[in-house]
Amino acid sequence: MVQERRILYEHLDVPDINTFDVFRQYDGYTRFEKAIAEYQPDDIAKMVMDSGLKGRGGAGFSTGLKWSFVPRDIKPCYLCCNADESEPGTFSNRYVLEKNPHLLIEGILICCYAMGIETTYVYIRGEFTLGKEMLDAAIKEAYEKGYLGKDIRGTGLNVDIYTHPGAGAYICGEETGLIESLEGKRGQPRNKPPFPAVEGVFGKPTVVQNVETLCNLPFIVGNGVEWYTQMGPTYADTRSDPPTPDPNTGTKLYCISGDVNEPGVYELDLGLTCSELIEVAGGLRGEEVKAVIPGGSSAPILTHYELDTRLDFTSLTLAKSMLGSGGIIVMNETRNIVDCLLNIMKFYAHESCGQCTPCRWGTPWVRDIVQRIADGNGRKSTMTRPKFGVAENGRWGDTGETEEIYEDLDLLESVANNIANVDTMTWNTICVFGIAVSWPAVSYMRKFRPEFEAAIREGELVTLPVAEATVPPEENYAYQQRFVPKEFADL
């Protein structure tokens, strides 16, 4: 069985680790001291680039690359730490804030030193009352001990950290929405470009990083790049010639919930498979896995055919899903996928910020269609049409058969794809919220189509056995371009 490798979470359960003295006993702030004593700021930025660290917030963008976009001659530059953890299924940041806030402060200090940043805002969810209290206390202590404020440890480095409470809006977890909210406005995302790295909060260059990403920095500096890159797989990106390395290095705080025996946060090397993770989390609660959401509710669902998919940024992207924030939700054979989709669509219809028309009107529309199907009023035509699928010649086309027309399913796909098209990956909205809506809507419907059809046909929710409810990969055009990545070492 895969073993947990606790790095960020290593000392999480040590009593009073939230106090400076105890944190100090466990190498606290020594990594920061090492950074300022042994390295120049540019060295740190290079280390982060070489480590292959990818942002843990959701997009999985290379942290080193993000830092390289920040112009060094425009001051002040800001760091925004994104602690607005609201993606359903994700809860790893909350434990860091509540139990080990000094680790985050150390990560912030290293980032500030590398980027020449003097002011950091930690945008923390309004609901995280305890987390904010603990972080505020830790910041106060760090000021008293001389690790924050003016002229830190006699190096001339000035860093201030302020916490900024949110007020319950999901969209403020999007980086430009966060910036708007931080400026005291409605949290409606901005058009990109200009990217926050160039023009962010208060019109100045801004680095926006997730809590988990920042918490990785002390370990990269403390133990070196070589140690860090040993963890997790590095793939070859064969789109370029010669292939470029595509690192998925480090550990990930996998949050697993739903139908498993021991839900919780497990820190593991990136790249383990879905079924391995379920085993680590005490096994499945129930008989059979029906579906797995691999990266928070925005991620396209995986079926029982895909349990061998590796849970890392590259593999999941190739499987037409995403690792996102690492919130894994497992569903067993008793769950009805229509019902699950309805729950998720209610969430998105509530959380749409209302800025872009396709999303403002599209999300409630999708919700209403799913609600109608779940209520047993789904619409079905009496006519039939030619069926498309894998034809005799092995290519996608007319199979020569006919199929029934489920109008509401066609409508659902059409509305969702007009908010954001999941096949072409283009969205008609300013931010990626649009794709976060249509991804689950379309993927649930395509992969569990028999269950949707049954609900419309029977006029009530019908939970089919797993094998009958799932569309096999070869019949599903969502899978058509799927291929398994090769390890870089195998080349």
């Binding site: 953890e85 609201s86 993606e87 359903p88 299924g89 994700t90 809860f91 940041n93 909350r94 969810r125 309004g126 609901e127 995280f128 009352t129 305890l130 201030d160 302020y162 900024h164 409470p165 949110g166 007020a167 319950g168 809006a169 999901y170 909210s181 931080l182 400026e183 005291g184 406005k185 409605r186 949290g187 208060f202 949050c255 697993i256 919930s257 739903g258 139908d259 839900p263 919780g264 946060v265 959401i293 509710s297 919130g327 939700i329 569903m331 769950r335 699950c340 729950n343 998720i344 969430f347 509530h350 959380e351 910020c353």
Partner: protein
């Protein structure tokens, strides 16, 4: 809405402690407007909800228009424009909690408190007549490993069952 803004009954000012906190807040940002969210949190802590008088006061303090404050207040679900109960009970009903029967918890709370669930535009619907509790559904509270969860004011209660809900309500009623 315009009527509400004009009918300002009792003027609002920060009390001593909140004024001190506000003074510390304002120095953190290069522009005053950025202190909007923390300032509104302070004000809501003092009077329980955001009254028109609060909006006017906050607007003056931050040197923005009242409309801009209203704009922000209406956007964020954590700011209330109507009075709420002494204890606001937030029940998470997003997928991971739904898989662990949050509906049972919600139904139990509804029966126990003998009230409906508040909607964002009608908080009174979910408030008990004695003004002690307000029951509302919220989206993910980022505690999916200990689902189902509820949040009573700032405190999170985990792994709920009907018995645990009874205990929590008893504790609160005695206070």
């Amino acid at each position: 809405m315009s009527d509400k803004l004009i009918q300002i009954e009792t003027p609002f000012v920060f009390n001593g402690e909140n004024q001190r906190e506000f003074d510390a807040l304002i120095g953190r940002y290069p522009v005053k407007e950025a202190a909007m969210l923390p300032t509104l949190h302070l004000a809501q802590r003092q009077v329980g909800y955001i009254t028109p008088a609060v909006m006017k006061y906050v607007a003056e303090q931050l040197e923005v228009s009242v409309m801009k404050v209203k704009d922000v207040v209406t956007f964020y679900p954590m700011f209330f424009e109507e009075p709420v109960g002494e204890y606001v009970i937030r029940v998470c009903h997003t997928l991971p909690c739904a898989l662990r029967d949050c509906k049972g918890v919600l139904d139990h709370l509804k029966a126990k408190l003998d009230t409906d669930v508040a909607s964002e535009t009608n908080l009174a619907k979910g408030t008990t007549p004695d003004g002690k509790f307000t029951l509302m559904k919220v989206e993910c509270l980022a505690s999916c490993d200990v689902a189902p969860v509820i949040m009573v004011n700032g405190d999170l209660h985990k792994n709920l069952t009907s018995e645990k809900v009874d205990e929590i309500l008893n504790d609160l009623s005695e206070k």
